[in-house]
């Protein structure tokens, strides 16, 4: 199990790194979007799959980061790129803290979902009226930045250079989130998802932990948006649209919301389906819809759950009934 997982991660990383040398720009552009959407999906699933909170308006955080960084680069404010990314994360965290303080006080479950959805739509409409942010047209021709590290200056103005920067950023963010989810903090969040009241009787202020997770999730979603602005070079109010909010949900459900890598696997699969069906109008929706239906009905724990079950069955057959294996197979957080 461990070897399989590690192999899959290394193979995936190698594939992404080799892409610019073996394929055309169009594919590299899509691969960059996959990296961004995968980070976005991880941020959403930290809330849903780990903490048990469903946000239906997560694209709002994404848009906050995308607009902040897009505006900063376009207006030539002279703020270093890493500074813009950090500012995006902070703004996302701040907005999450303010909304979370109000929303998480009483509402979880369906109420939280509806409230976040409504707030995100409000944000999208407000952006559409904002002249500073380009109204409905958004911010166009956002320049790609230069990375200033103090000891070195790396231009990210070429598509390939920026692509590699995103790969590194994705790896770093993925690694940090992995540690968060697999350490004592993640263990606590998973417990809160399963039975918040039981956790309260362990002496934990559940409301505060939920708020923390909400803030962290908002910050990471905003950072995904910040990475997006110079890659697409245009940011429109569509980035805050509820349809964009559904993307991480669908990806997490497809890949497996109770597994850390589920949202990443789901994002990759969705992009592949979209790519293969790109010339047939309406077919991609049909295939995605059908795939989701099958997954939800036949494999509620997503593609990763399917792989895990198959793996367990295989290893059990090899041991030919040596009793339940000690592996944590099927456990939530692997």
């Amino acid at each position: 199990m461990m070897a399989l997982r590690l192999g899959a991660i290394l193979f995936g990383a190698a594939l992404f790194l080799a892409l610019p040398t073996v394929s055309d720009q169009g594919i590299v552009f899509l691969a960059g979007l996959v990296v961004i959407e995968a980070i976005f999906a991880l941020s959403w699933n930290l809330l849903f799959g780990f903490t048990g909170l469903a946000s239906f308006g997560h694209a709002a955080f994404f848009a906050i980061g995308a607009y902040l960084t897009g505006y900063g680069l376009k207006a030539g404010l002279g703020v270093p790129f890493l500074g813009l990314i950090a500012a995006s994360g902070l703004l996302g965290a701040l907005v999450a803290a303010l909304t979370g303080l109000v929303l998480l006080r009483r509402t979880t479950g369906i109420h939280l979902a509806i409230f976040t959805l409504a707030l995100a739509e409000v944000l999208r409409i407000v952006i559409g009226y904002s002249t500073l942010l380009g109204r409905e047209d958004g911010l166009a021709s956002i320049p790609k930045p230069t990375l200033e590290l103090g000891f070195a200056t790396i231009p990210l103005t070429s598509g390939t250079a920026y692509y590699y920067f995103m790969c590194v950023a994705g790896l770093v963010i993925g690694a940090v989130l992995w540690v968060v989810c697999h350490g004592p903090y993640g263990r606590l969040l998973v417990s809160i998802r399963q039975d918040p009241q039981r956790v309260a009787f362990l002496g934990v202020n559940v409301g505060r932990k939920r708020l923390q997770a909400f803030i962290l999730s908002g910050a990471v979603a905003a950072i995904a948006g910040a990475l997006y602005a110079p890659w697409a070079q245009i940011v429109t109010p569509e980035s805050a649209h509820w349809i964009h909010s559904t993307q991480p949900m669908l990806a997490s459900l497809l890949g497996g919301a109770h597994s850390f890598w589920g949202p990443v696997v789901g994002t990759v699969l969705f992009s592949i389906i979209n790519y293969l069906t790109r010339n047939l109008v309406g077919l991609s929706e049909l295939v995605i819809g059908a795939t989701l239906l099958i997954i939800v009905l036949a494999a509620p724990s997503g593609v990763i759950g399917l792989v895990r079950t198959a793996q367990q069955r295989w290893s059990r057959r090899r041991k030919s009934g040596a009793g339940p294996d000690g592996d944590e197979g099927g456990s939530v957080r692997s």
Binding site: V180, G183, Q194, A200, G203, H258, E328, S331, V332
Partner: protein
């Protein structure tokens, strides 16, 4: 003897349904205090009120000299109140060991003891040792790696007991700790409670329908009926009480032996 917990004139209603009617009681430090009564008497409701799961309309609750009437559940837990539920509540999707690990870590963090930082992915050795000790306490050492949802009913109860113990409570409130257990498991659980009490001076408040368990453990008994206290006292006093005789007419309370 000093009082560790007192309930003073508490009233609790669900809508128009008056469940607890001016209930008052005092639990002494170190004693085992049993609450008994027929189904629907309000025992679980009393537990919920004492532990902070639900609020109440009138009266107050004093724990260890401080008024905790408005304190949320997690604060009462930090002050040393532990509890189990009538229907065992555990974390079904993770292993038995992880159920206890999260409880140990939560206690350490909330009481300012040494707790692992968020980035410690491998469970720390001292935490593992403590988890192991709790596993041995409740007899689940051989099931440490099993996902908790696959446990039998009795084992779930035991695991929940272990979770409560991991919080190192001063007062432990057990809502029917042996309900649905086999007779052997009942005896094992009663023995465990007795042992912990002897080792740590734990105060226990429990409800139970099994009179053998009650008579074997309780120092004092409180009898409830329709949300009212009808008797408090030693086993003999309670048995001799005419009101109790009426409620428990011909039942095991008069057959079970101490």
């Amino acid at each position: 003897m000093t009082a560790i917990l007192s309930v003073e004139g508490v009233d609790k209603s669900y809508g128009t349904h008056h469940i607890l009617k001016s209930v008052s009681l005092t639990v002494e430090d170190g004693e085992t205090f049993a609450v008994i009564g027929p189904n629907g008497a309000g025992k679980t409701t009393l537990f919920k009120v004492m532990t902070g799961e639900i609020g109440f309309e009138r009266g107050r609750i004093v724990y260890d000299g401080r008024d905790v009437s408005r304190a949320p559940a997690h604060e009462r837990a930090r002050l040393g109140m532990g509890r189990t539920f009538q229907v065992a509540r555990i974390f079904p999707d993770v292993t038995v060991a992880d159920n206890l690990t999260v409880a140990v870590e939560a206690r350490r963090r909330s009481r300012g003891e040494s707790a692992p930082a968020w980035y410690r992915v491998a469970t720390r050795a001292d935490i593992r040792a403590e988890v192991e000790a709790r596993l041995l306490d409740v007899g689940l050492a051989d099931k440490a790696a099993v996902e908790a949802k696959f446990l039998s009913h009795g084992d779930k109860k035991r695991l929940e007991f272990g979770i409560a113990l991991a919080g190192r409570p001063r007062i432990l409130m057990l809502d029917e700790p042996t309900a649905g257990m086999s007779p052997t498991d009942r005896i094992a659980t009663a023995d465990l409670i007795a042992r912990l009490r002897a080792e740590t001076g734990l105060t226990v408040v429990m409800t139970e329908h099994d009179m053998d368990v009650i008579f074997g453990l309780a120092d004092r008994i409180l009898v409830m009926n329709y949300g009212e206290i009808i008797a408090v006292g030693s086993i003999e006093e309670v048995r001799a009480n005419p009101l109790v005789r009426e409620v428990y007419l011909g039942q095991e309370i008069y057959h079970a032996e101490r």
